[in-house]
Subunit: 128 residues, 2 copies
Amino acid sequence: MTRDELITTYRRYIDCLNRQDWGELQEFVHDDVRYNDLHVGLAGYRSMLEGDFRAIPDLRFQIELLIADSPHVACRLHFDCTPIGTLFDLPVNGRRVQFEENVFYEFAGERIQKVRSIIDKAAIARQL
Amino acid sequence: MTRDELITTYRRYIDCLNRQDWGELQEFVHDDVRYNDLHVGLAGYRSMLEGDFRAIPDLRFQIELLIADSPHVACRLHFDCTPIGTLFDLPVNGRRVQFEENVFYEFAGERIQKVRSIIDKAAIARQL
């Protein structure tokens, strides 16, 4: 895909996550997707996201900065949410927290095959 | 700068850091540089880097993935090093640790004006 197609596809992917439309996820995520060097596959990736929404009922992915350089996309995501219990081993317990994720995606054809993410867990710890 | 010029300039910047050539830093970093929304300026940025090399004498910046989309660069950096004391509040004390940083840079002209970085501190904690 070209740079502009990557940008459009990525925005549609984020919209799919925010709608929790798990049936559509396969349009954006490869069957053999790897997350931080772990082979999780599409089913594992979907489980991970479903778990995120159970832990954070008001979870919403907000794009703060998006850049693309085929076949890669890099995004800084912003979160402003209220996790109900423990998040990343931190006792958030319904408090409102704001944090960022810097994440790289590698596309194979039209779908994400590799995700390399770092979430700013220290920022959450500072807010508790 | 074009994509290719950004890539070349960024590689020269990383080489400058690895040589600890602080006199050359001003070629790559803007006087008014911001680091994670804090205005640190060139002098503050240099101090931060000098502090990093004091804490980690064998510090070496290794580019794992580099993408550019003018005026932005995104890089996944890999570190394999032995911090001498406490690092990010973690008692590393001379142990060898490996971790990653996902970082975005915004260029103004030929120099970096904005850095948005997340270091995988949790990965270091898991190795202690």
